[in-house]
């Protein structure tokens, strides 16, 4: 079987804020159609990693390639690079002064210079898929958190990006809205979208990932397919991290020990 080409390739990435080293010598690859899920403790540099990829942060060393082209070496026109990278943030960040449809069309029409009719058709198809076509003329303030986040995903998708980056997109949602957003991402995975996902939802990570990357203190500690990683983490740090998410059976065991 032929191995798919890498869409994103990071080699030896270094990122410092002043003296604080946040990412040290990190390398990873996301192949076409692959879903990589990055997990790790708070502050380990997951968001920073995503932000470096679409140029929201400058980097202090290493290289990032998109479809085999370095976006670091030489003169990078970041607005063109970003058009190929779909980014979704934890706080949705829809534009409050625009309707849902206007939010979605801004990138395709203004940044990519596409025709309104054609872009609208695509936007409506995506909205339909996430169940929000009837809300296309609503303003963000009229939507729930889960709805806003689904719109934010559609807004990124409508750019037809090479890769989607998700940064804890369910972290500020009420629990009953988490599912509707994760389902959208699962759907994208089924359709072969290339994705790099940061999440604290372990069950979701396990379901969606082709590969789990476990980060701690700015570097990759281990990376493995989800089944192997979750059943048999190799490193102590990963084991400790996964323990945080295990609550069941504690009392029973305690009683047993008495």
């Amino acid at each position: 079987m032929a191995v798919a080409r890498p869409v994103l390739k990071i080699t030896g990435l270094h990122k410092r804020y002043d003296q604080l080293e946040v990412i040290g010598n990190l390398s990873l690859e996301v192949r076409k159609g692959e879903v990589l899920v990055v997990i790790g403790p708070s502050g380990c540099g997951k968001s920073t990693l995503l932000r470096c990829i679409n140029g929201l942060e400058t980097i202090q060393g290493g290289d990032i390639e998109l479809n085999g082209q370095s976006i670091i070496v030489g003169h990078t026109r970041w607005n063109l690079v970003r058009q190929q990278i779909g980014m979704v943030f934890q706080s949705y960040d829809l534009f409050p002064h625009m309707t849902v449809l206007e939010n979605i069309l801004l990138g395709p029409m203004k940044a990519q210079g596409r025709e309104r009719a054609e872009a609208t058709k695509e936007a409506e198809a995506f909205l339909d898929r996430v169940g929000l076509l009837d809300r296309k003329d609503s303003f963000p303030r009229q939507l729930s958190g889960g709805q806003k986040q689904r719109v934010a995903i559609v807004r990124a998708l409508c750019m037809n990006p090479e890769i989607m980056l998700f940064d804890e997109v369910t972290a500020s949602l009420d629990p009953e809205m988490v599912r509707e957003v994760l389902d959208v991402i699962l759907g994208l995975a089924e359709q072969g979208m290339t994705m790099l996902i940061v999440t604290h939802e372990m069950a979701f990570a396990r379901a969606v990932a082709d590969k789990i990357v476990f980060m701690d203190q700015g570097s990759i500690v281990e990376s493995a397919p989800p089944d192997i990683f979750f059943q048999n983490p190799v490193s102590d740090r990963a084991r400790k991290f996964l323990n945080i998410f295990q609550f069941e059976g504690v009392k029973k065991e305690e009683r047993h020990n008495d």
Binding site: F89, D93, P96, K110
Partner: protein
Amino acid sequence: MFLGIETEFIAKALPLYGQAAWRTVWVAACGVALSLIIGLFCSLARYYRIPGLKSLAAAYIELARNTPLMIHLFFLYYGLPRVGLTLDGITCGVIGLAFLGGGYMAEAFRAGLEAVSRAQIESGLSLGLSRRQMVRYVILPQALAVAVPAVAANTIFLMKETSVFSIVAVADLVYVFRDLIKEGHSNENLFLLTIFYLVIILPVSILFNRWERRLRRDGIGH
């Protein structure tokens, strides 16, 4: 006579005040419009820290805000002719008001620009918008909405500041008032002067209030 006010005189003076009010409105409108443009450029120069322009804008803003309009007008009307540039009173009024207002409007817009969150900007950048597109579609619409209350206050302030224009021979409301009061009827003249200022300023105030309420309802702006 009505409440001690001589209605005959009022009827006679009304057209004079009406004309002056119309002139005042025009000069104020031109001055405010120009001050909005100047303010926008200065605030953007500072917001984007454009080398050279940034410090120039900062210096101008301080100068405009910390000197009285009367001095700007004296300079334009009596100072410039000495270097060979003679402007009529109305032109001086418009330029003086724009100079003063530009400084205030720049501060209003700056507050608006600073209110646009980092997250909104990164959200726009992530869509691959260029710098210019960011300003036009993401930053300015939100910044202007936030700036509306301050712009409203500045506009009303500038309209009231026109009351010193008579020193450069603009036949505005105060000019007519001063002219007519020489022949008495001080109560009637004061009454007319007050009414006419209210007539030109109150609608502006009400319109801005409505606009602010609508922005608040829409959850944009403050």
